[in-house]
Symmetry: none
Subunit: 131 residues, 4 copies
DNA sequence: GTGGTCTAGACCACC
DNA sequence: GTGGTCTAGACCACG
Protein backbone atom coordinates (compact mmCIF):
# COMPACT_ATOMS: atom_id res chain seq x y z
CA UNK A 1 0.00 0.00 0.00
CA UNK A 2 0.84 3.66 -0.18
CA UNK A 3 0.84 4.60 3.46
CA UNK A 4 3.03 4.02 6.44
CA UNK A 5 2.34 5.74 9.69
CA UNK A 6 4.70 6.68 12.51
CA UNK A 7 2.79 7.53 15.69
CA UNK A 8 5.81 9.33 17.14
CA UNK A 9 6.22 11.56 14.17
CA UNK A 10 5.08 14.66 15.96
CA UNK A 11 2.46 14.90 13.23
CA UNK A 12 -1.08 13.78 13.90
CA UNK A 13 -1.96 10.48 12.30
CA UNK A 14 -4.74 11.96 10.21
CA UNK A 15 -2.30 14.59 8.97
CA UNK A 16 0.22 11.95 7.97
CA UNK A 17 -2.49 10.27 5.92
CA UNK A 18 -3.43 13.56 4.28
CA UNK A 19 0.15 14.30 3.36
CA UNK A 20 0.85 10.85 2.04
CA UNK A 21 -2.23 10.85 -0.16
CA UNK A 22 -1.10 14.18 -1.55
CA UNK A 23 2.37 12.81 -2.13
CA UNK A 24 0.93 9.79 -3.93
CA UNK A 25 -1.23 11.98 -6.13
CA UNK A 26 1.67 14.31 -6.87
CA UNK A 27 3.83 11.36 -7.83
CA UNK A 28 1.16 9.93 -10.13
CA UNK A 29 0.75 6.82 -8.02
CA UNK A 30 -2.87 7.80 -7.63
CA UNK A 31 -4.41 9.21 -10.83
CA UNK A 32 -7.52 11.33 -11.39
CA UNK A 33 -10.83 9.38 -11.39
CA UNK A 34 -9.05 6.53 -9.63
CA UNK A 35 -10.74 5.38 -6.41
CA UNK A 36 -8.81 5.54 -3.14
CA UNK A 37 -9.13 2.55 -0.81
CA UNK A 38 -12.07 2.74 1.57
CA UNK A 39 -11.82 4.22 5.02
CA UNK A 40 -12.25 0.80 6.57
CA UNK A 41 -9.61 -0.79 4.42
CA UNK A 42 -7.02 1.86 5.18
CA UNK A 43 -7.93 1.80 8.86
CA UNK A 44 -7.41 -1.94 8.97
CA UNK A 45 -4.08 -1.81 7.18
CA UNK A 46 -2.71 1.00 9.32
CA UNK A 47 -4.20 -0.45 12.52
CA UNK A 48 -5.77 2.91 13.13
CA UNK A 49 -9.22 4.08 14.12
CA UNK A 50 -11.52 4.43 11.09
CA UNK A 51 -12.57 7.85 12.35
CA UNK A 52 -9.01 8.99 11.92
CA UNK A 53 -8.92 7.93 8.28
CA UNK A 54 -12.35 9.40 7.72
CA UNK A 55 -11.10 12.69 9.05
CA UNK A 56 -8.11 12.62 6.71
CA UNK A 57 -10.40 11.92 3.76
CA UNK A 58 -12.67 14.77 4.84
CA UNK A 59 -9.66 17.07 4.87
CA UNK A 60 -8.62 15.84 1.43
CA UNK A 61 -12.07 16.63 0.09
CA UNK A 62 -11.85 20.13 1.53
CA UNK A 63 -8.47 20.48 -0.22
CA UNK A 64 -10.13 19.30 -3.49
CA UNK A 65 -7.76 16.36 -3.77
CA UNK A 66 -10.53 13.81 -3.42
CA UNK A 67 -14.12 14.03 -4.53
CA UNK A 68 -17.05 11.79 -3.74
CA UNK A 69 -18.48 9.47 -6.39
CA UNK A 70 -22.05 8.82 -5.31
CA UNK A 71 -22.54 5.34 -4.00
CA UNK A 72 -19.03 4.30 -4.95
CA UNK A 73 -16.40 6.00 -2.79
CA UNK A 74 -13.83 8.73 -3.10
CA UNK A 75 -11.89 9.40 -6.27
CA UNK A 76 -8.89 11.56 -7.05
CA UNK A 77 -10.16 14.92 -8.36
CA UNK A 78 -9.41 16.25 -11.78
CA UNK A 79 -7.04 19.09 -11.00
CA UNK A 80 -5.52 17.30 -8.01
CA UNK A 81 -2.13 16.24 -9.42
CA UNK A 82 -1.19 19.84 -10.23
CA UNK A 83 -2.29 21.11 -6.85
CA UNK A 84 -0.49 18.31 -5.04
CA UNK A 85 2.74 18.77 -6.98
CA UNK A 86 2.70 22.44 -6.08
CA UNK A 87 2.10 21.61 -2.42
CA UNK A 88 4.56 18.79 -2.16
CA UNK A 89 7.74 20.82 -1.98
CA UNK A 90 6.14 23.36 0.32
CA UNK A 91 5.02 20.68 2.76
CA UNK A 92 8.48 19.20 2.98
CA UNK A 93 10.21 22.56 3.00
CA UNK A 94 8.15 23.78 5.90
CA UNK A 95 9.04 20.92 8.21
CA UNK A 96 12.64 20.86 7.10
CA UNK A 97 13.01 24.53 7.88
CA UNK A 98 11.70 24.10 11.41
CA UNK A 99 14.12 21.31 12.13
CA UNK A 100 17.12 23.09 10.67
CA UNK A 101 16.23 26.23 12.56
CA UNK A 102 16.31 24.31 15.78
CA UNK A 103 19.50 22.59 14.81
CA UNK A 104 21.18 25.96 14.42
CA UNK A 105 20.02 26.98 17.86
CA UNK A 106 21.88 23.97 19.10
CA UNK A 107 25.05 25.59 17.69
CA UNK A 108 25.67 22.98 15.07
CA UNK A 109 27.35 24.64 12.12
CA UNK A 110 26.53 24.01 8.47
CA UNK A 111 29.25 21.45 8.10
CA UNK A 112 27.98 19.39 11.02
CA UNK A 113 24.41 19.73 9.80
CA UNK A 114 25.34 18.49 6.33
CA UNK A 115 27.08 15.53 7.89
CA UNK A 116 23.96 14.79 9.89
CA UNK A 117 21.79 14.97 6.81
CA UNK A 118 24.11 12.71 4.85
CA UNK A 119 24.16 10.20 7.67
CA UNK A 120 20.38 10.10 7.74
CA UNK A 121 20.11 9.83 3.97
CA UNK A 122 22.42 6.84 4.11
CA UNK A 123 20.27 5.21 6.75
CA UNK A 124 17.19 5.77 4.64
CA UNK A 125 18.83 4.32 1.55
CA UNK A 126 19.82 1.21 3.43
CA UNK A 127 16.31 0.78 4.77
CA UNK A 128 14.93 1.03 1.26
CA UNK A 129 17.36 -1.40 -0.28
CA UNK A 130 16.50 -3.94 2.40
CA UNK A 131 12.85 -3.94 1.49
CA UNK B 1 18.51 36.23 26.15
CA UNK B 2 18.86 32.52 25.61
CA UNK B 3 15.43 31.46 24.47
CA UNK B 4 13.24 32.07 21.50
CA UNK B 5 10.00 30.23 20.98
CA UNK B 6 8.14 29.43 17.79
CA UNK B 7 4.52 28.49 18.49
CA UNK B 8 4.20 26.72 15.11
CA UNK B 9 7.20 24.56 15.68
CA UNK B 10 5.14 21.44 16.10
CA UNK B 11 6.87 21.11 19.47
CA UNK B 12 5.10 22.14 22.66
CA UNK B 13 6.38 25.38 24.13
CA UNK B 14 7.59 23.69 27.29
CA UNK B 15 9.50 21.22 25.14
CA UNK B 16 11.16 23.97 23.18
CA UNK B 17 12.33 25.51 26.42
CA UNK B 18 13.64 22.16 27.62
CA UNK B 19 15.59 21.63 24.43
CA UNK B 20 17.00 25.13 24.32
CA UNK B 21 18.20 24.96 27.89
CA UNK B 22 19.89 21.66 27.09
CA UNK B 23 21.47 23.20 24.02
CA UNK B 24 22.69 26.18 26.03
CA UNK B 25 24.19 23.90 28.66
CA UNK B 26 25.78 21.69 26.01
CA UNK B 27 27.29 24.75 24.34
CA UNK B 28 28.68 26.06 27.62
CA UNK B 29 26.50 29.16 27.49
CA UNK B 30 25.07 28.03 30.81
CA UNK B 31 27.66 26.58 33.17
CA UNK B 32 27.30 24.36 36.24
CA UNK B 33 26.28 26.18 39.45
CA UNK B 34 25.08 29.09 37.32
CA UNK B 35 21.49 30.11 37.98
CA UNK B 36 19.04 29.97 35.12
CA UNK B 37 16.67 32.92 34.77
CA UNK B 38 13.66 32.59 37.04
CA UNK B 39 10.41 31.05 35.94
CA UNK B 40 8.71 34.41 36.11
CA UNK B 41 11.44 36.15 34.17
CA UNK B 42 11.44 33.65 31.33
CA UNK B 43 7.66 33.67 31.29
CA UNK B 44 7.67 37.43 30.95
CA UNK B 45 10.26 37.45 28.18
CA UNK B 46 8.58 34.73 26.14
CA UNK B 47 5.13 36.16 26.83
CA UNK B 48 4.12 32.77 28.08
CA UNK B 49 2.41 31.51 31.21
CA UNK B 50 4.74 30.90 34.16
CA UNK B 51 3.28 27.42 34.58
CA UNK B 52 4.52 26.52 31.13
CA UNK B 53 8.06 27.53 32.00
CA UNK B 54 7.74 25.84 35.37
CA UNK B 55 6.83 22.64 33.61
CA UNK B 56 9.91 22.88 31.41
CA UNK B 57 12.10 23.50 34.44
CA UNK B 58 10.50 20.58 36.26
CA UNK B 59 11.30 18.38 33.29
CA UNK B 60 14.89 19.64 33.32
CA UNK B 61 15.18 18.72 36.97
CA UNK B 62 13.91 15.24 36.22
CA UNK B 63 16.58 15.05 33.53
CA UNK B 64 19.18 16.18 36.08
CA UNK B 65 20.08 19.22 34.04
CA UNK B 66 18.89 21.68 36.68
CA UNK B 67 18.85 21.38 40.43
CA UNK B 68 17.12 23.51 43.02
CA UNK B 69 18.98 25.92 45.26
CA UNK B 70 16.50 26.40 48.06
CA UNK B 71 14.88 29.78 48.06
CA UNK B 72 17.28 31.01 45.43
CA UNK B 73 16.37 29.41 42.14
CA UNK B 74 17.49 26.67 39.83
CA UNK B 75 21.10 26.07 38.94
CA UNK B 76 22.78 24.03 36.24
CA UNK B 77 23.70 20.65 37.75
CA UNK B 78 27.25 19.37 37.98
CA UNK B 79 27.19 16.59 35.40
CA UNK B 80 24.76 18.42 33.14
CA UNK B 81 27.12 19.61 30.37
CA UNK B 82 28.20 16.06 29.63
CA UNK B 83 24.67 14.76 29.65
CA UNK B 84 23.48 17.61 27.45
CA UNK B 85 26.30 17.28 24.96
CA UNK B 86 25.48 13.62 24.62
CA UNK B 87 21.81 14.40 24.10
CA UNK B 88 22.24 17.31 21.76
CA UNK B 89 23.03 15.37 18.62
CA UNK B 90 20.39 12.78 19.41
CA UNK B 91 17.69 15.43 19.84
CA UNK B 92 18.48 17.01 16.50
CA UNK B 93 18.99 13.69 14.76
CA UNK B 94 15.63 12.44 15.89
CA UNK B 95 13.66 15.28 14.41
CA UNK B 96 15.75 15.39 11.27
CA UNK B 97 15.17 11.72 10.68
CA UNK B 98 11.42 12.07 10.89
CA UNK B 99 11.40 14.89 8.37
CA UNK B 100 13.70 13.15 5.93
CA UNK B 101 11.70 9.97 6.24
CA UNK B 102 8.59 11.84 5.22
CA UNK B 103 10.45 13.62 2.48
CA UNK B 104 11.41 10.30 0.97
CA UNK B 105 7.82 9.18 1.07
CA UNK B 106 7.08 12.23 -1.02
CA UNK B 107 9.30 10.61 -3.64
CA UNK B 108 11.96 13.26 -3.57
CA UNK B 109 15.31 11.63 -4.34
CA UNK B 110 18.54 12.29 -2.49
CA UNK B 111 19.66 14.89 -4.98
CA UNK B 112 16.49 16.89 -4.57
CA UNK B 113 16.62 16.55 -0.81
CA UNK B 114 20.18 17.79 -0.68
CA UNK B 115 19.17 20.79 -2.79
CA UNK B 116 16.32 21.48 -0.37
CA UNK B 117 18.65 21.28 2.60
CA UNK B 118 21.18 23.59 0.95
CA UNK B 119 18.47 26.07 0.13
CA UNK B 120 17.32 26.15 3.72
CA UNK B 121 20.86 26.43 5.05
CA UNK B 122 21.34 29.45 2.84
CA UNK B 123 18.20 31.04 4.16
CA UNK B 124 19.36 30.47 7.71
CA UNK B 125 22.76 31.94 7.00
CA UNK B 126 21.22 35.06 5.54
CA UNK B 127 18.96 35.43 8.56
CA UNK B 128 21.93 35.17 10.84
CA UNK B 129 24.07 37.64 8.93
CA UNK B 130 21.23 40.14 9.05
CA UNK B 131 21.22 40.13 12.83
CA UNK C 1 -11.80 2.35 44.04
CA UNK C 2 -8.05 2.28 44.13
CA UNK C 3 -7.13 5.66 45.50
CA UNK C 4 -7.60 7.53 48.70
CA UNK C 5 -5.89 10.83 49.34
CA UNK C 6 -4.92 12.46 52.61
CA UNK C 7 -4.22 16.17 52.16
CA UNK C 8 -2.21 16.32 55.41
CA UNK C 9 0.05 13.51 54.38
CA UNK C 10 3.01 15.78 53.89
CA UNK C 11 3.16 14.35 50.38
CA UNK C 12 1.80 16.32 47.46
CA UNK C 13 -1.50 15.00 46.16
CA UNK C 14 -0.05 14.18 42.76
CA UNK C 15 2.70 12.22 44.51
CA UNK C 16 0.21 10.25 46.56
CA UNK C 17 -1.55 9.27 43.35
CA UNK C 18 1.74 8.27 41.76
CA UNK C 19 2.65 6.09 44.71
CA UNK C 20 -0.74 4.46 44.97
CA UNK C 21 -0.82 3.59 41.30
CA UNK C 22 2.60 2.03 41.68
CA UNK C 23 1.42 0.09 44.71
CA UNK C 24 -1.65 -1.11 42.84
CA UNK C 25 0.47 -2.24 39.91
CA UNK C 26 2.97 -3.93 42.21
CA UNK C 27 0.15 -5.75 43.98
CA UNK C 28 -1.37 -6.92 40.69
CA UNK C 29 -4.55 -4.95 41.28
CA UNK C 30 -3.78 -3.18 38.03
CA UNK C 31 -2.42 -5.46 35.33
CA UNK C 32 -0.50 -4.71 32.13
CA UNK C 33 -2.63 -3.51 29.19
CA UNK C 34 -5.41 -2.68 31.65
CA UNK C 35 -6.67 0.89 31.41
CA UNK C 36 -6.39 3.09 34.48
CA UNK C 37 -9.43 5.23 35.29
CA UNK C 38 -9.45 8.44 33.30
CA UNK C 39 -7.98 11.68 34.55
CA UNK C 40 -11.44 13.17 34.84
CA UNK C 41 -12.86 10.19 36.67
CA UNK C 42 -10.12 10.09 39.26
CA UNK C 43 -10.33 13.84 39.66
CA UNK C 44 -14.04 13.59 40.31
CA UNK C 45 -13.68 10.77 42.83
CA UNK C 46 -10.88 12.42 44.76
CA UNK C 47 -12.54 15.84 44.53
CA UNK C 48 -9.33 17.14 43.08
CA UNK C 49 -8.44 19.19 40.04
CA UNK C 50 -7.98 17.16 36.85
CA UNK C 51 -4.65 18.85 36.26
CA UNK C 52 -3.36 17.38 39.48
CA UNK C 53 -4.27 13.87 38.39
CA UNK C 54 -2.91 14.59 34.92
CA UNK C 55 0.39 15.53 36.48
CA UNK C 56 0.50 12.27 38.39
CA UNK C 57 -0.27 10.30 35.24
CA UNK C 58 2.38 12.23 33.35
CA UNK C 59 4.88 11.31 36.03
CA UNK C 60 3.81 7.68 35.78
CA UNK C 61 4.42 7.75 32.05
CA UNK C 62 7.88 9.15 32.62
CA UNK C 63 8.45 6.27 35.04
CA UNK C 64 7.25 3.85 32.36
CA UNK C 65 4.42 2.58 34.55
CA UNK C 66 1.70 3.85 32.25
CA UNK C 67 1.67 4.24 28.50
CA UNK C 68 -0.78 6.06 26.27
CA UNK C 69 -3.27 4.26 24.07
CA UNK C 70 -4.13 6.94 21.55
CA UNK C 71 -7.56 8.37 21.99
CA UNK C 72 -8.44 5.68 24.49
CA UNK C 73 -6.62 6.40 27.70
CA UNK C 74 -3.62 5.24 29.66
CA UNK C 75 -2.76 1.59 30.16
CA UNK C 76 -0.39 -0.19 32.51
CA UNK C 77 2.87 -0.78 30.66
CA UNK C 78 4.30 -4.21 29.99
CA UNK C 79 7.29 -4.21 32.33
CA UNK C 80 5.54 -2.10 34.96
CA UNK C 81 4.72 -4.77 37.58
CA UNK C 82 8.37 -5.70 37.94
CA UNK C 83 9.48 -2.11 38.13
CA UNK C 84 6.77 -1.28 40.66
CA UNK C 85 7.47 -4.29 42.85
CA UNK C 86 11.10 -3.29 42.96
CA UNK C 87 10.17 0.28 43.88
CA UNK C 88 7.48 -0.53 46.41
CA UNK C 89 9.71 -1.46 49.31
CA UNK C 90 12.09 1.37 48.57
CA UNK C 91 9.28 3.93 48.59
CA UNK C 92 8.01 2.77 51.95
CA UNK C 93 11.49 2.30 53.38
CA UNK C 94 12.47 5.82 52.46
CA UNK C 95 9.64 7.48 54.33
CA UNK C 96 9.90 5.13 57.27
CA UNK C 97 13.57 5.87 57.65
CA UNK C 98 12.97 9.60 57.78
CA UNK C 99 10.38 9.24 60.50
CA UNK C 100 12.42 6.85 62.58
CA UNK C 101 15.45 9.06 62.22
CA UNK C 102 13.49 11.93 63.65
CA UNK C 103 12.05 9.75 66.34
CA UNK C 104 15.54 8.87 67.52
CA UNK C 105 16.44 12.52 67.64
CA UNK C 106 13.54 12.86 70.03
CA UNK C 107 15.50 10.53 72.29
CA UNK C 108 12.99 7.74 72.19
CA UNK C 109 14.83 4.45 72.54
CA UNK C 110 14.22 1.34 70.46
CA UNK C 111 11.86 -0.14 73.01
CA UNK C 112 9.67 2.94 73.06
CA UNK C 113 9.74 3.16 69.27
CA UNK C 114 8.65 -0.46 68.92
CA UNK C 115 5.80 0.20 71.32
CA UNK C 116 4.77 3.18 69.23
CA UNK C 117 4.85 1.14 66.07
CA UNK C 118 2.81 -1.65 67.63
CA UNK C 119 0.26 0.82 68.90
CA UNK C 120 -0.14 2.28 65.43
CA UNK C 121 -0.34 -1.16 63.81
CA UNK C 122 -3.16 -2.01 66.19
CA UNK C 123 -5.01 1.15 65.27
CA UNK C 124 -4.64 0.34 61.60
CA UNK C 125 -5.89 -3.20 62.11
CA UNK C 126 -8.95 -1.97 63.94
CA UNK C 127 -9.67 0.52 61.19
CA UNK C 128 -9.43 -2.21 58.61
CA UNK C 129 -11.62 -4.68 60.50
CA UNK C 130 -14.28 -1.97 60.83
CA UNK C 131 -14.58 -1.64 57.09
CA UNK D 1 25.25 20.49 68.52
CA UNK D 2 21.64 19.58 68.95
CA UNK D 3 20.38 19.83 65.43
CA UNK D 4 20.80 17.98 62.23
CA UNK D 5 18.76 18.87 59.19
CA UNK D 6 17.70 16.73 56.25
CA UNK D 7 16.49 18.87 53.34
CA UNK D 8 14.72 15.90 51.75
CA UNK D 9 12.79 15.08 54.86
CA UNK D 10 9.49 16.20 53.45
CA UNK D 11 9.37 18.55 56.44
CA UNK D 12 10.22 22.20 56.01
CA UNK D 13 13.62 23.13 57.38
CA UNK D 14 12.21 25.63 59.84
CA UNK D 15 9.84 22.94 61.07
CA UNK D 16 12.66 20.50 61.61
CA UNK D 17 14.40 23.09 63.74
CA UNK D 18 11.23 23.72 65.74
CA UNK D 19 10.73 20.03 66.39
CA UNK D 20 14.32 19.40 67.35
CA UNK D 21 14.38 22.26 69.81
CA UNK D 22 11.23 20.84 71.36
CA UNK D 23 12.83 17.41 71.53
CA UNK D 24 15.93 18.85 73.18
CA UNK D 25 13.84 20.69 75.74
CA UNK D 26 11.71 17.60 76.40
CA UNK D 27 14.84 15.54 76.92
CA UNK D 28 16.33 18.07 79.32
CA UNK D 29 19.24 18.83 77.01
CA UNK D 30 18.05 22.41 77.03
CA UNK D 31 16.88 23.57 80.46
CA UNK D 32 14.68 26.51 81.47
CA UNK D 33 16.47 29.91 81.62
CA UNK D 34 19.23 28.42 79.45
CA UNK D 35 20.03 30.44 76.34
CA UNK D 36 19.66 28.80 72.94
CA UNK D 37 22.40 29.45 70.39
CA UNK D 38 21.89 32.60 68.32
CA UNK D 39 20.11 32.60 65.00
CA UNK D 40 23.37 33.32 63.24
CA UNK D 41 25.25 30.58 65.00
CA UNK D 42 22.63 27.95 64.20
CA UNK D 43 22.34 29.18 60.64
CA UNK D 44 26.08 28.86 60.17
CA UNK D 45 26.24 25.38 61.63
CA UNK D 46 23.31 24.06 59.64
CA UNK D 47 24.40 25.90 56.47
CA UNK D 48 20.96 27.37 56.30
CA UNK D 49 19.58 30.83 55.72
CA UNK D 50 19.39 32.83 58.99
CA UNK D 51 15.83 33.83 58.11
CA UNK D 52 14.87 30.19 58.30
CA UNK D 53 16.25 29.81 61.80
CA UNK D 54 14.69 33.11 62.81
CA UNK D 55 11.36 31.82 61.67
CA UNK D 56 11.75 28.65 63.68
CA UNK D 57 12.62 30.67 66.78
CA UNK D 58 9.60 32.89 66.15
CA UNK D 59 7.42 29.80 66.05
CA UNK D 60 9.00 28.51 69.24
CA UNK D 61 8.21 31.77 70.96
CA UNK D 62 4.59 31.50 69.80
CA UNK D 63 4.55 27.98 71.26
CA UNK D 64 5.94 29.37 74.56
CA UNK D 65 8.98 27.16 74.36
CA UNK D 66 11.38 30.08 74.07
CA UNK D 67 11.09 33.55 75.51
CA UNK D 68 13.15 36.63 74.81
CA UNK D 69 15.64 37.94 77.38
CA UNK D 70 16.05 41.59 76.57
CA UNK D 71 19.36 42.39 75.04
CA UNK D 72 20.63 38.86 75.55
CA UNK D 73 18.85 36.35 73.34
CA UNK D 74 16.26 33.64 73.63
CA UNK D 75 15.96 31.37 76.64
CA UNK D 76 14.00 28.22 77.31
CA UNK D 77 10.72 29.21 79.01
CA UNK D 78 9.74 28.09 82.47
CA UNK D 79 6.94 25.64 81.69
CA UNK D 80 8.51 24.51 78.45
CA UNK D 81 9.85 21.07 79.44
CA UNK D 82 6.41 19.85 80.46
CA UNK D 83 4.77 21.19 77.34
CA UNK D 84 7.47 19.69 75.14
CA UNK D 85 7.36 16.31 76.79
CA UNK D 86 3.64 16.20 76.22
CA UNK D 87 4.09 17.16 72.57
CA UNK D 88 6.99 14.89 71.87
CA UNK D 89 5.11 11.63 71.56
CA UNK D 90 2.30 13.27 69.63
CA UNK D 91 4.72 14.76 67.09
CA UNK D 92 6.37 11.43 66.45
CA UNK D 93 3.10 9.50 66.52
CA UNK D 94 1.56 11.74 63.94
CA UNK D 95 4.26 11.21 61.35
CA UNK D 96 4.60 7.55 62.10
CA UNK D 97 0.90 7.03 61.58
CA UNK D 98 0.99 8.65 58.16
CA UNK D 99 3.85 6.48 57.01
CA UNK D 100 2.35 3.26 58.32
CA UNK D 101 -0.96 4.12 56.78
CA UNK D 102 0.70 4.45 53.42
CA UNK D 103 2.65 1.28 53.98
CA UNK D 104 -0.59 -0.62 54.47
CA UNK D 105 -1.93 0.78 51.25
CA UNK D 106 1.08 -0.80 49.60
CA UNK D 107 -0.29 -4.16 50.83
CA UNK D 108 2.56 -4.88 53.19
CA UNK D 109 1.22 -6.90 56.10
CA UNK D 110 2.09 -6.37 59.75
CA UNK D 111 4.81 -8.96 59.67
CA UNK D 112 6.55 -7.31 56.74
CA UNK D 113 6.12 -3.90 58.30
CA UNK D 114 7.67 -5.03 61.57
CA UNK D 115 10.59 -6.46 59.64
CA UNK D 116 11.01 -3.14 57.87
CA UNK D 117 10.95 -1.25 61.13
CA UNK D 118 13.48 -3.59 62.70
CA UNK D 119 15.76 -3.26 59.72
CA UNK D 120 15.67 0.51 59.96
CA UNK D 121 16.21 0.48 63.72
CA UNK D 122 19.29 -1.62 63.15
CA UNK D 123 20.59 0.83 60.59
CA UNK D 124 20.06 3.70 63.00
CA UNK D 125 21.83 1.89 65.82
CA UNK D 126 24.82 1.24 63.62
CA UNK D 127 24.95 4.87 62.56
CA UNK D 128 24.89 5.95 66.18
CA UNK D 129 27.56 3.54 67.32
CA UNK D 130 29.84 4.74 64.54
CA UNK D 131 29.69 8.30 65.77
C1' DG E 1 -15.30 10.23 25.32
C1' DT E 2 -9.83 10.43 25.98
C1' DG E 3 -5.17 12.86 27.18
C1' DG E 4 -2.14 17.11 26.12
C1' DT E 5 -1.25 21.86 26.36
C1' DC E 6 -1.75 26.36 27.83
C1' DT E 7 -3.56 30.32 30.51
C1' DA E 8 -4.64 32.71 34.74
C1' DG E 9 -4.24 33.24 39.26
C1' DA E 10 -4.16 31.53 44.09
C1' DC E 11 -1.43 30.09 48.28
C1' DC E 12 2.66 28.26 50.59
C1' DA E 13 7.47 27.51 51.98
C1' DC E 14 11.91 29.22 51.79
C1' DC E 15 15.61 32.83 51.42
C1' DG F 1 12.34 37.61 45.63
C1' DT F 2 12.41 32.22 44.50
C1' DG F 3 10.12 27.54 43.07
C1' DG F 4 6.15 24.17 44.22
C1' DT F 5 1.45 22.99 44.35
C1' DC F 6 -3.17 23.36 43.36
C1' DT F 7 -7.46 25.16 41.21
C1' DA F 8 -10.29 26.52 37.36
C1' DG F 9 -11.24 26.46 32.89
C1' DA F 10 -10.04 26.88 27.88
C1' DC F 11 -8.80 24.66 23.39
C1' DC F 12 -6.96 20.96 20.52
C1' DA F 13 -6.10 16.33 18.63
C1' DC F 14 -7.52 11.74 18.54
C1' DG F 15 -10.89 7.79 18.60
Amino acid sequence: MFFSIDPNNGLAIYDQVVRQVKFAVAAGVLRPTELVPSVREVARELAVNPNTVARAYRQLQADRVLEPVRGTGLAVAAGAPDRCRRQRLALVHERLRQVLREARQSRLDNRELRALVEAELDVLEQEESHE
